[in-house]
């Protein structure tokens, strides 16, 4: 399937592959059809994380590295990061050379005004490190935004700007890669959905890196990700459930957040947590009935998650149809809705 190589001028014009696991059907729709595919009292849950420009070029005593922040740690100063050697996003991550071997205590310099110390190096891979920045608060965030560039991959045709990787409703910059299923959803579409009686709620989920270039690390993706479920969302889920509405997650990050905070009876708890679960075929969703997501490739962690919502043969058929119909894949590509009607 062809990748989308650049963000659409009008993200709302994305196509929507409707996959109905109940009927076993696949249909070619437009995102603008979504209000007609949902109904009162369904609930749509989006990830309202803003996206940080999480790729930072840096210098160490052993040479240059690209630091990709993977997720925040205990404080604003502490981050998990993945290091890359020479090259840029224009190469496939798996073709990037290893970073110079850094030991705990090594100082990484980002331009003139920001440093970080390597706190730990993962035994699993020399690419995976814990960093502590030398500043905090406004000074740190200003420096990160000044030095950082969007994390992006080699299927794109040019360097992204920061606004390309924001959704219309994003806020706290917890994500290091855009929660991309939400990007085509504009404010006007949310209004149409609400007028149709579909409720909209949010979680904040620190969507992490989708590729590290290291097969060992990639096999373990996604890394643990911080999330927050607000009380209003818990209430919206309960209201929808009581009235037999469907809970539809926008993006796999929302599935992770809601499922990670769901008790065995399916009730979602409010608060912060760290999602460590990996959702695959054997997983039975407790809180989420379906999702809006990209058109994913078999063998990826995203595809594995879809197997919890639809049988694999139907997903394979959906993928083949999407390809034949000219759908585009990856973060700026088209969408699918996997939901029993």
């Amino acid at each position: 399937m062809k990748p989308a190589v650049w963000p659409r001028e009008k993200p709302g014009e994305a196509r929507l592959l409707q996959v109905d696991p109940g009927a076993g059907t696949v249909s070619d729709r437009r995102l603008s059809d979504l209000p007609n595919l949902l109904r009162a009292p369904d609930l749509l849950v989006v990830n309202d994380a803003g996206t940080l420009p999480a790729s930072l070029v840096a210098v160490t005593s052993r040479g240059r590295v690209e630091v990709r922040l993977a997720g925040p740690g205990e404080t604003d100063r502490d981050w998990t990061a993945v290091l890359f050697g020479a090259g840029s996003w224009r190469q496939r991550t798996e073709d990037r050379p290893l970073p110079p071997a850094l030991a705990p205590g090594e100082v990484i310099r980002f331009g003139d005004a920001l440093c970080a110390e390597v706190r730990t190096v993962s035994p699993a891979s020399p690419r995976l490190v814990e960093l502590r920045f030398d500043r905090e608060g406004a000074s740190l965030w200003s420096a990160l935004y000044r030095q950082g560039r969007p994390v992006q991959y080699s299927h794109l045709c040019g360097p992204l700007a920061l606004w390309h990787i924001q959704t219309a409703f994003g806020s706290r910059p917890w994500a290091v890669e855009m929660p991309s299923a939400g990007r085509p959803l504009g404010i006007a579409l949310l209004g149409q959905l609400r007028r149709r009686g579909v409720s909209i709620a949010s979680v904040t989920h620190a969507a992490g890196l989708s590729s590290t270039g290291d097969p060992v690390l990639d096999a373990g993706l996604p890394l643990p990700e911080r999330f927050e479920v607000p009380p209003a969302t818990v209430e919206a889920v309960e209201v929808a459930r009581r009235a037999a509405g469907r809970v539809v997650a926008v993006g796999t990050s929302v599935v992770r957040a809601l499922e990670a905070s769901a008790a065995s009876d399916g009730r979602v708890r409010a608060g912060r947590g760290v999602a460590t679960l990996r959702l695959a075929a054997g997983f039975v969703p407790r809180a989420v009935d379906g999702l809006v997501t990209g058109v994913h490739e078999p063998g990826t962690s995203h595809f594995d998650m879809l197997r919890a919502f639809a049988p694999e043969p139907l997903l394979q058929e959906a993928r083949a149809r999407a390809e034949a119909w000219g759908y585009l894949e990856h973060e700026f590509g088209d969408l699918s809705l996997i939901l029993a009607a």
């Binding site: 920061l162 806020s171 910059p173 209003a232």
Partner: protein
């Protein structure tokens, strides 16, 4: 909107009304981000608010720069959480001494519009989606009577403020029913550096202090639900009615 516990972003926050609004919002318990171009003044206001027990953060930024918007909004949300209140206070008079339109360079008019109109447009656009999602939020554009009265010499500034009023009004109409409110407010004359730049011969003793005006504006913010969405408020007129 009760400001206690709310997250607020105030542009033009290093001096004059913006700084006074920052102090007043923080005094009433808001978590405040102040934005300005001048680091020394900005850090002094932030330090003063913190010394008084309030929460404030200072971000250096130029709201007239397109590339500055998302870094500003992202850093603000990282510091104080999703924004509940956005105050567009930063503005420029353009060339001073003020000059009539026939003497105004096209580039000067464009720069005034960039800071006073396009900047607030971009910033609102980057913030308002999160407010719509949460079903609450207030965007306040600081306007001027020069946006209503055609004072000779105030053309560039006045045009930008008239357009800012209409920007807030139109956005309010588009977001009706979402819970998000947009207002513009003419604070009237105040004893600020900007006023002195525009009218160096004015009798300062007759001018109100920015602190006094800021307290009244925050009172209005706290009772904004009673004002029709999209309204242009005139603080002096409201005082006379009261």
């Amino acid at each position: 909107m009760r400001v206690e516990g709310r997250a607020a972003l105030v542009t033009g926050g290093s001096r004059g009304l913006g700084a006074a609004l920052g102090r007043e919002l923080a005094r009433r318990g808001a978590r405040v981000v102040l934005v300005a171009r001048g680091e020394r003044d900005l850090q002094a206001v932030v330090a003063e608010i913190r010394a008084a027990g309030g929460e404030a953060h200072g971000l250096l930024s130029d709201v007239g720069e397109k590339d500055a918007v998302h870094p500003l909004v992202g850093a603000s949300a990282a510091l104080v959480g999703p924004l509940d209140l956005l105050v567009h206070d930063a503005s420029t008079l353009g060339q001073v001494p003020l000059r009539e339109l026939a003497e105004t360079e096209c580039e000067d008019l464009a720069r005034v519009l960039e800071v006073n109109l396009v900047g607030p447009f971009r910033l609102t656009k980057a913030v308002v989606g999160s407010m719509v999602l949460r079903g609450q939020g207030l965007v306040l554009g600081i306007s001027s009577d020069a946006g209503v009265v055609p004072y000779p010499g105030w053309g560039a500034y006045g045009v930008s403020k008239a357009a800012l009023d209409h920007l807030m009004r139109t956005w309010a109409a588009e977001l009706e029913g979402t819970g998000v409110r947009l207002l513009s407010l003419d604070p009237g004359e105040m004893d600020t550096a900007m006023h002195a730049e525009a009218m160096p011969d004015a009798d300062r003793s007759r001018l109100r202090s920015p602190a006094e005006v800021a307290a009244r504006i925050v009172d209005l913010v706290e009772s904004a639900e009673s004002v029709p969405n999209g309204s242009r408020l005139d603080l002096m007129q409201l005082a006379r009615v009261a």
